[in-house]
C-alpha cells in the first residue's frame, strides 16, 4: 500500500509493480487507474485518509487475494489532485485470468465502499466535502 502527497506518477507505479512481479509467474495483471474528471467546475479533488484503518482494510484484502493465489496492490493520493491527473491506482496479479477479472471488480468496489478516505471538491480555492457522492461504511449509524 502506497500513499503519496498529490497526484500519482501512474507510469512509474505501473512499471514498478510489473517489474517486481516479473518472475512471479502471474499470467494476468490488471491495474485500475482512477483519474480526476473535469466536471461541476472543480479545479481539483482533495483527499483525507485515515491510514491505520486503511492499512487494516488493505491487509484483509491481501489475505483474501492470497487465498485465491493472487495479490493486490494499491496506491492513493493525499491532499489536492488536479483534474486530468490520477488519484488512485490499484491492481491484481493472478496466475489465472478469471480470478484476476473477478478480484479487481470486488477489490475496487469494496474500496469505494469501505476504504477510509474522504473526498472534497476544490472550487474557487474552497474545500467542500463531497457528501453526496460518499458512501456510508459497513456498520454506519451504530452510535445513532
Amino acid at each position: 500500500m502506497e500513499l503519496y502527497e498529490g497526484s500519482l506518477d501512474t507510469k512509474e507505479i505501473f512499471g514498478r509493480w510489473l517489474d517486481e512481479q516479473s518472475n512471479s509467474n502471474y499470467g494476468a495483471y490488471i491495474p485500475f487507474v482512477g483519474t480526476i474528471r473535469a466536471e461541476d467546475n472543480i479545479d481539483a479533488l482533495s483527499f483525507d485518509i485515515y491510514e491505520p484503518v486503511l492499512k487494516a482494510w488493505f491487509d484483509s484484502w491481501q489475505k483474501k487475494a492470497e487465498e485465491r493465489g493472487a495479490i493486490v496492490k494499491m496506491a492513493h493520493a493525499i491532499g489536492d489532485v488536479p483534474v486530468h491527473t490520477s488519484s488512485y491506482v490499484s491492481a491484481v496479479f493472478s496466475p489465472k485470468r478469471r480470478v484476476a477479472l473477478e478480484l479487481i471488480d470486488e477489490f475496487v468496489e469494496d474500496f469505494k465502499a469501505n476504504a477510509p478516505i474522504w473526498k472534497y471538491d476544490i472550487i474557487d480555492g474552497k474545500r467542500i466535502y463531497a457528501i453526496d457522492r460518499s458512501n456510508q461504511m459497513d456498520g454506519a449509524g451504530l452510535l445513532s
Binding site: D48, V108, K119
Partner: protein, 73 residues
C-alpha cells in the same frame, strides 16, 4: 477515560469521555446536538478496528474513531 476522534470532514477536536460500553458512549455523544446528524451516517472503530456491536465494553485508554461516509478513488 475514552478518547473519541472525529475523522475527515467532521472537523471536530478529539474529546475524552468516561464510558464502559459503546452504548454508554453513544448516549453521551448524542447529548451534543451538532453530532447527531453525523452519528446517523458514521461508522465506528475501536483502536483502529472497525466494530459493529454496541455491547462492546471499553477500557480506559481505548481510542474510538468516528468515520463519516467515504469516497476514495
Amino acid at each position: 477515560m475514552i478518547k473519541v476522534e472525529f475523522l475527515g470532514p467532521i472537523g471536530k477536536e478529539p474529546v475524552e469521555i468516561e464510558a464502559s460500553t459503546l452504548r454508554e458512549l453513544s448516549s453521551k455523544l448524542k447529548a451534543d446536538k451538532e453530532l447527531l446528524e453525523w452519528l446517523d451516517i458514521c461508522a465506528v472503530a475501536i483502536n483502529d478496528t472497525m466494530v459493529n456491536n454496541l455491547d462492546i465494553s471499553l477500557k480506559s485508554g481505548d481510542r474510538v474513531s468516528i468515520l463519516p461516509p467515504v469516497c476514495g478513488g
